[in-house]
Amino acid sequence: MIKRFLNISDLESLLKAKSEYGSKCKILAGGTDLVVRMKADMIDPDTILSIRNIDEMKGIIKGKDGTVIGALTSHTSIEENALIRKQHYPLYQGVYEIGSPQIRNMGTLGGNIANASPSGDTIAPLMVMGAKIRLMSRSKERLVPVDKFFKGPGKTVMADDEIIHSVIVPAGFNKKNSGFIKAGLRKALSIAVVSVGWSLKDDKLTLAFGGAAPIVTVAEIRKDCSAAELKKKVLNAISPISDLRASKGYREQVILNLVNSVMEALN
């Protein structure tokens, strides 16, 4: 039972409410994760802070250290943004792959990150672009590199009084030097079995693996490394599970196939 439901329309009130209610409250953004969990009786929050009307947390702007994307920006708005397509191609491909039109209209970038699912489709893209997450509380603000943000499935470094305000993504990632591929069971409405994000800078290839370990993991390799070395590094970086969707061996093989298709495209 939700005892208290607060519709919040400005950032300052959100930070205040978050410091007051702490772990007792849950932020509601698009609701595509939270409401599913509530219906499944996995969580039973006492207080809901609904943030869909906080306009200052929506939108995409060009900043001096990269593109600033508000945490409340929907996947649809990200997909339709020209700057994202030109400068942050892996993120464009990531949101393009999410769920369905309805889920992309509702779901937000902040929700995808805060949810900390190892198969969140925005996470591998943010990893290969070296994004930073701006966390805010009433008393302070900090920037956390995305590869330092996740602790485990559903677990992050965020404190009880903190929120994700925005994400800062370095520019310069286009179709030629970066990307994201997902191998799902079915095109629409499947959470990825596994996915690979990649980016190339000079000779260094950064790979990020979704759905292949408790959190999204990263491997860095030289572009011209041997096939054996590549395989070893990839398998070292991942530790997939077996579940009703796929076995461990299947997941490893699909990841290797995805990585191979990236290497082929590069050579």
Partner: protein, 159 residues
């Protein structure tokens, strides 16, 4: 709590509880039963409505969060008398069998078509990809929507 919604064009005010989904309020409180309850988990699209200009699955929307919003349901798309061209197209092309998925498809198709003058088949299929149908196999639904789009004067581009 009390919320206000602009529902199919007119403002209405009513009491809801904090846990109510928009789907529950529409179907069980307001008796707008055109919107269907399928999976209840955002997966099937039977409960699709237009919320502030974008399609959403109303089973995942908490009604308390949309106070002050504008909502269009299938009842707001279908005219008082007769059918909307998309509905006519679906009927004429065999796109309706049990009909359970139909309102959701019509809402998704209506939102897609009302935002553009022309489209490709790939774009249309992607726009309908959040709606599931157990009966028809989709081909006839797509054909029905295309027929409706033609009646609406929309142009189909090559992919």
């Amino acid at each position: 709590m009390k919320i206000r919604l602009k529902l199919n064009g007119s403002w209405r005010e009513f009491e809801i509880s904090n846990d109510d989904t928009l789907l529950h309020v529409l179907r069980d409180e307001l008796r707008l039963t055109g919107t269907k309850r399928g999976c209840g988990n955002g997966e099937c699209g039977a409960c699709t409505v237009i919320l502030d200009g974008e399609t959403v699955t109303s089973c995942l929307v908490l009604a308390a969060s949309v106070d002050g919003s504008s909502i269009t349901t299938i009842e707001g798309i279908s005219p008082q008398r007769g059918l909307h061209p998309i509905q006519e197209g679906l009927v004429a092309n065999g796109g309706v069998q049990c009909g359970f998925c139909t309102p959701g498809f019509v809402v998704s198709a209506y939102d897609f078509l009302s935002k553009r003058e022309s489209f490709t088949m790939d774009e249309l299929k992607r726009a309908l990809s959040g709606n599931l149908c157990r009966c028809t196999g989709y081909k006839k639904i797509v054909e029905g929507v295309v027929a409706g789009a033609e009646t609406m004067g929309k142009e189909i581009e090559n992919d």
